[in-house]
């Protein structure tokens, strides 16, 4: 497959001609380090063995799944109910993979590696590039600045949980939504982008109290259809 592989090393800087910046890469790294550490503290304080916390950061590779499982157990659910709720919140990663997959690697081991590493920021950053080759490069470099800091943060949080105290006191739970808002911010400049984002947020908020965890976000995908509404001509 010509044009599918790089001639040299993995990209470790924002690719030329992309919208990705160093500020974004470094903030993603810092954010995922703190999110990993904060989640690990919550999991260890919830009674999970610290080595399982570290292994699950690597193998599950999805913080919301770990926290959704814990929340379902705390709410008195059985293991299977909790496992299903952990899977459900990860369905969004499958949908993100569905959205960006066709633009990344159509087949082979790279596709499996990319699938394992689909997160919110790298998918959104790849999706905002026009050109598929640039999308592949920004996906790769964003992943390299996201996943290793997340592993290290999880390990630090798991090993130092007793000494770190309550992550909420530092406001760390506002860090991820703020980062995600910044990533989609450029797309809110268009009317279609605003319609999709606002529609999705309203659907999710409307369903959160009545639907099981994960379902509100899956339902919010319907808002993507709002791009099909005709643009108003001035």
């Amino acid at each position: 497959m010509k044009g599918m592989a790089w001639p040299g090393r993995l990209p470790l800087a924002p690719p030329a001609g992309s919208q990705l910046t160093w500020g974004e890469l470094l903030t993603i790294a810092a954010t995922y380090f703190s999110v990993g550490a904060a989640a690990a503290v919550v999991l260890v304080n919830g009674g999970t063995d610290r080595w399982i916390v570290i292994a699950s950061a690597v193998l599950i590779n999805a913080v919301t799944t770990q926290l959704a499982y814990l929340a379902a157990i705390d709410a008195g659910g059985s293991s299977w109910v909790a496992i299903v709720s952990g899977w459900l919140v990860a369905t969004r990663f499958g949908l993100l993979a569905l959205a960006v997959g066709p633009r990344l690697w159509p087949r082979g081991w790279r596709r499996a590696v990319a699938a394992f590493n689909v997160f919110d920021p790298n998918a959104a950053i790849a999706a905002r590039e026009e050109d598929d080759d640039t999308a592949r490069r920004v996906f790769t470099v964003t992943t390299l600045f996201l996943v290793p800091p997340w592993f290290v943060g999880s390990a630090v949080g798991a090993l130092l949980a007793d000494r770190l105290g309550d992550p909420q006191l530092l406001g760390l739970d506002a860090v991820l939504p703020a980062l995600l808002l910044a990533i989609i911010w450029p797309r809110l400049a268009t009317a279609a982008g605003r319609r999709v984002a606002l529609g999705a947020a309203l659907i999710a908020a409307a369903l959160v109290q009545v639907a099981p965890g994960g379902v509100p976000v899956i339902a919010a995908v319907a808002a993507a259809g709002l791009v099909w509404l005709p643009e108003r001509r001035p």
């Binding site: 969004r92 990663f93 949908l95 406001g171 989609i184």
Partner: protein
């Protein structure tokens, strides 16, 4: 708490969904109209995740310090401040509102 077995079951299910998503669409056979909608899916998902992480706790709607922190992040973005500042302002505002409450 999470055990080794539940961890492996969770991991298999999450990877299976990611892989299924990745192999579901054949890139060559995609009309532009669907491609535009596919491109909007990450935007929709992330907007929904932002709404839930800002306005809900364990499945119920709540407005607390986070909402003020994320709103402060929105003001920073509107002022075109650098991303690192946006994120730090969100965390600091949330922490300060909690401290004051």
């Amino acid at each position: 708490m999470i055990t080794w077995v539940t961890m492996l079951v969770l991991a298999a299910g999450v990877f299976g969904q990611r892989l299924a998503g990745m192999v579901a669409v054949q890139p060559d056979a995609l009309p532009d109209r669907w491609r535009a909608a596919l491109d909007a899916i990450p935007l929709a998902i992330i907007a929904a995740v932002i709404a839930l992480q800002t306005l809900s706790t364990a499945g119920s709607l709540t407005v607390d310090a986070r909402a003020i922190g994320v709103a402060a992040a929105g003001v920073c973005l509107w002022l075109r401040l650098p991303l690192a500042i946006v994120v730090v302002v969100a965390a600091a505002t949330t922490a300060l509102v909690r401290l004051a409450a």
